[in-house]
């Protein structure tokens, strides 16, 4: 190892790039996803969905469907638990409508039949009588005085009096005195921004296979980011004990937050209970778009003051988020993330959670943060250009550091924003001359990251290998990272470790794979479980040598006596100890169960070059560089993959992805033809720079990386496009018609 590589000098496996253990299965098609399993006697289900944005359900007549011999059961709301409250009731309402259908695509009934086609046809024979109600799908309109009320009494106590009942939660945070701050500024810019809802766009539609017996025992196989959560919710919704339902997570074809929510598993269980047969339920792409969660859409007002040399004197933001027909739009995250990159004396932010007749929003990578960055970083960009200042220098001047009082309250621990800005400034991309017709945009982004309940088990085998069981579905190559961390601790080769995402009967509760928590929390747990196993291994060696366990230490796969005083014994390899473990005290298993709280926050800086065809309004992203703090990159390739994925999804959201509703409140573009995610040829090679400022809360310094990468793109691209077009774009997506419109307004008023 080269001497200049000291940083990684202490690691042998961590920081290397071995092949992922699930890779061969995935490229050969052997991996089993949600829809890939079957059971003897299995039925197929289909869901009947409301074609109306808002309607009272007057009657559901199943007689025509039930007349077919292929149809075995129909379930409606009456087949689910009663008496649920709060969030549980909200989930049930979303899984199966009660008195009202609240959005186009809302489930109102489901049918189980002997084939997928029979189920699809039977669903058409279920006659639902609706009384259509007025609807609203736009966030600003949903807050307006005369807007139809989605649900009376849905607001919580945070909402100040006088607001429309569709405003269901309110948030306020900040410090200092913004008015005083604006008074100190040489330039104050105030502007409004709008973003449309974007879907996570995972390739694999939701799918499950479920069985529920009359005695309340159940089995579920499903594609999810969190099978323990599926277990908990299913038990409540069908009315059985959580421990009686065993859930196994399949391989997952993308989630990005959208598979932290539960949609179909309780429906399959209810149908299974009614038919006493296993039931398979697979969503179509149209159902995924209409009935699972896109992110919230937003309407935002930002005001920022700056001195002529670039110091931000105050920042203020108002964030209105529409999250569908249920409370939960992540407006507090939007508000809290908005100014987090900056060390501000005066900052104030307000958030509104607004209901409308759209599907319940679901988490999407750093929920709420990308939109905030779009609005705030656009205004900072405008300030920089009007004051003639360099956008990276201004951000460096104002950057949050260790000890900064964050815009959302606490003081930052060790953080790496400055390091990402310095690395961006030094990157050849930033100094490359900008060709004619191109614009260059820069943005910072922030995400909290998360720890969460975590439990793992590390079982050693007689042959000296190790099996790690985790409860966090692998959504980004985490099994590889887990194996690396265990290999690092045990001192055995990466290939000698297998990591399995174990079912809910095997481990204690694990929170879903969200909040960029897996490599941090399951990784921390895997390291600690390894250390637990090592302690036991050392104990066995000590017993064999007849010395104190404290006199034995573990070094690169061997138990060794700790010094001359401990005695002179030949080191024992891991396999030497496990070979006889049955006779020396029984199986050796390492454990760790906890709720780690030290997930370090993470920052990124992105640089984008974009070209705009001013005759057609079409944008092409020509160069893209992601610089992000990973704390410690366990598997750099998969860290880079997260960076690139965040940028790619951000490009889609910024340029073309949007939920388009018609006057009738129906979703117009529930397919990948018209919901335009980028295709491969739309993207440049996305360059990545991994900055490593260790997180003090993780043994190796890991910070989550999955979400921060989607925080800067909307803003960085908007800044590049605005530069190239010569007009500020304030609405996402910046689709060609919107860009031409903005150019037209600029030219002709």
């Amino acid at each position: 190892m080269a001497l200049d590589d000291k940083k990684n000098g202490e690691f042998k496996v961590v920081g290397t790039r071995p092949n992922r253990p699930d890779g061969v299965d995935k490229v050969t098609g052997r991996a089993r996803f949600g829809a890939d399993v079957s059971a003897p006697g299995m039925l197929h289900a289909a869901i009947v969905r409301s074609p109306h944005a808002h309607a009272k359900i007057l009657k559901i007549d199943t007689s025509r469907a039930m007349a077919s011999k292929d149809v075995k059961a129909v379930v409606t709301r009456a087949d689910f638990a009663e008496g649920l409250e709060g969030d549980d009731l909200n989930v049930l309402e979303n899984v199966m409508a009660g008195e009202k259908a609240l959005y186009d695509g809302h489930a109102v009934a489901a049918v189980a039949a002997t084939s997928p086609l029979a189920a699809r046809d039977a669903a058409k024979l279920i006659d639902v009588t609706y009384e259509i109600l007025p609807h609203v799908t736009d966030v600003d309109k949903a807050m307006a005085k005369d807007a139809p009320v989605i649900r009376e009494g849905a607001a919580d106590k945070s909402v100040p009096p006088g607001l429309h009942p569709n405003v269901v939660r309110y948030h306020e945070s900040g410090h200092g005195d913004v008015e005083e701050g604006f008074a100190q500024a040489d330039l104050v810019i105030e502007d409004s921004f709008v973003t449309e809802a974007a879907h996570q766009g995972y390739i694999e539609p939701h799918a499950c296979l479920a069985q529920l017996d009359a005695d309340g025992k159940g089995e579920v196989w499903c594609c999810t980011q969190g099978h323990f959560n599926v277990q908990k919710i299913c038990a409540k919704l069908v009315g059985t004990d959580a421990s009686q339902i065993r859930v196994t997570a399949s391989e997952i074809g993308g989630g990005f937050g959208g598979k932290t929510a539960v949609f179909i598993e309780p429906v399959a269980l209810a149908l299974s209970r009614k038919t006493n047969r296993p039931v398979k339920l697979v969503m179509s792409r149209a159902e995924v778009f209409r009935a699972t969660g896109p992110t919230a859409s937003t309407s935002m007002d930002i005001k920022i003051g700056m001195t002529s040399d670039g110091k931000i004197t105050a920042g203020q933001g108002t964030f209105r988020l529409q999250g569908g027909a249920f409370p939960g739009a992540p407006m507090e995250f939007t508000a809290m993330c908005a100014f987090a990159p900056y060390n501000l004396e005066n900052v104030f932010q307000v958030g509104y959670d607004v209901m409308s007749n759209r599907p319940k929003q679901a988490a999407y990578r750093a929920p709420g943060s990308p939109m905030a960055a779009f609005a705030v970083e656009s205004v900072i960009d405008e300030l920089c250009s009007q004051l003639g200042l360099d956008p990276i220098e201004v951000r460096l001047m104002n950057a949050s550091k260790e000890g900064t009082k964050a815009s959302y309250g606490p003081r930052f621990d060790r953080i790496g924003l400055v390091e990402t800005l310095e690395a961006a400034k030094a990157h050849p991309h930033y100094s490359a001359p900008l060709a004619e017709g191109l614009g260059r945009g820069v943005s910072c982004g922030f995400w909290f990251n998360h720890g969460g309940e975590t439990a793992v088990t590390l079982a050693l085998s007689e042959d000296g290998t190790a099996a790690l069981s985790v409860g966090t579905p692998d959504i980004g190559g985490s099994r590889a990272s887990m194996c690396q961390m265990v290999a690092e601790e045990l001192g055995i080769p990466y290939e000698k470790i297998r990591t399995t995402v174990a079912d809910t009967a095997t481990l204690g509760y694990n929170e879903v794979s969200h909040g960029s928590r897996v490599t941090y929390a399951s990784g921390l747990a895997a390291i600690n479980a390894s250390r637990d196993a090592v302690e036991k291994l050392c104990g066995r060696a000590a017993a064999k040598w007849g010395i104190d366990p404290e006199a034995v230490y573990w070094d690169s796969g061997y138990a060794k006596p700790s010094g001359p005083n401990a005695g002179d014994f030949e080191p024992l390899a891991l396999a030497d100890i496990t070979k006889n473990m049955g006779a020396t005290g029984g199986p050796i298993v390492g454990h760790f169960e906890a709720t780690p709280e030290g997930a370090g926050v993470s920052f990124a800086t992105h640089i984008v070059d974009a070209r705009v065809d001013k005759e057609t309004g079409k944008t092409s992203v020509e160069r893209y560089t992601v610089v992000q703090d990973a704390g410690k990159a366990i598997h750099p390739t998969y860290v880079e993959g997260q960076y690139q994925g965040g940028a790619a999804q951000g490009i889609g959201w910024a340029l073309n992805e949007e939920y388009i509703y018609g006057e009738d409140g129906r979703l117009q573009n529930a397919n990948f033809l018209d919901y335009r995610i980028p295709v491969a040829s739309d993207l440049p090679m996305i360059d990545t720079v991994i900055v490593e400022v260790p997180n003090p809360g993780h043994p190796y310094g890991v910070r989550g990386v999955g979400e921060t990468s989607i925080c800067p793109p909307l803003a960085a691209i908007a800044n590049a496009v605005s530069g190239a077009a010569g007009v500020r774009l304030k609405q996402l997506p910046m689709s060609p018609p919107r860009i031409l419109e903005a150019l037209d307004v600029q030219a002709n008023g």
């Binding site: 699809r120 179509s284 149209a286 005759e615 057609t616 309004g617 079409k618 092409s620 340029l655 073309n656 388009i660 117009q668 573009n669 397919n671 033809l673 018209d674 335009r676 980028p678 295709v679 040829s681 739309d682 689709s735 060609p736 018609p737 031409l740 419109e741």
Partner: protein, 286 residues
Amino acid sequence: MQYHSPASFEDAVGIAASADGTTRFLAGGTDVLVQLRADVFTPDVLIDVKNIEGVKDIVCEDGGWRIGAAVSGAEMSENAELARQWPGLVEAMDLIGSTQVQGRATLVGNLCNGSPAADSVPAMFAADVSANITGPNGERRVAVSEIPVGPGKTSLEKGEVITALHIPQRGDNAADAYLRFIPRTEMDIAVVGCAVNLRLDGDTISEARVSLGAVAPKVLLVDEAAQAIIGTSLDENALNALAAAASAACNPINDKRGTIKFRTHVAGVLARRAAKIAYDRVRASK
């Protein structure tokens, strides 16, 4: 649903003419099967034309070309002489879908699916392609521009099937071009499409045909746009007149894919750009 795979067009016509309910012919299936799977349209009778002799032919005939009813986009692109003579038509067909779709999709299917946004159709209009049609009342040959009548609708009678397409003789000093506007780089549907087919006499345009897609209920042949450039050497004035005529011919809708204003404007932009490409192609071939 019934599935038939006749060995002759005569049999195909017989089945189609006597079919109960709705009929679809199955060429590449990239519209028919997709609509079936997506539960958009399920025909009662499906008639596969791919086992009929000659449907995969690309042959020179009467100085022009005969393209069989099941020739795929990939097969057209691989025919170097066809691509040399009719680069616009071949590139329009080649824009359709992905590599996988190219292995199946046909000109006839693109035409008969009846989409106003179909990519190869403006290029066929501009090239003055005609279709051989066989039906219960015998054979007829009509200009392709007479086949689409509205979204999803064609002028074919019950029982009629297209047996082949005819591309006219290319002749000298001529070339065509097709451009479409999509917000992405591929795998998208035309928001506007424009084909231009030109013949020059020296530097002067002596013949022109201009066709627009996705700006009206069916693909348009815009004679005013052609007239705007005939007799010119495609100078700035001619290009402006062309763009204005193209925009004026538009009768689009506001929908999820684009606004009326956007489509109308971009039709003019594409007409200019496609005309320039066709013009440069002729000059480069001299």
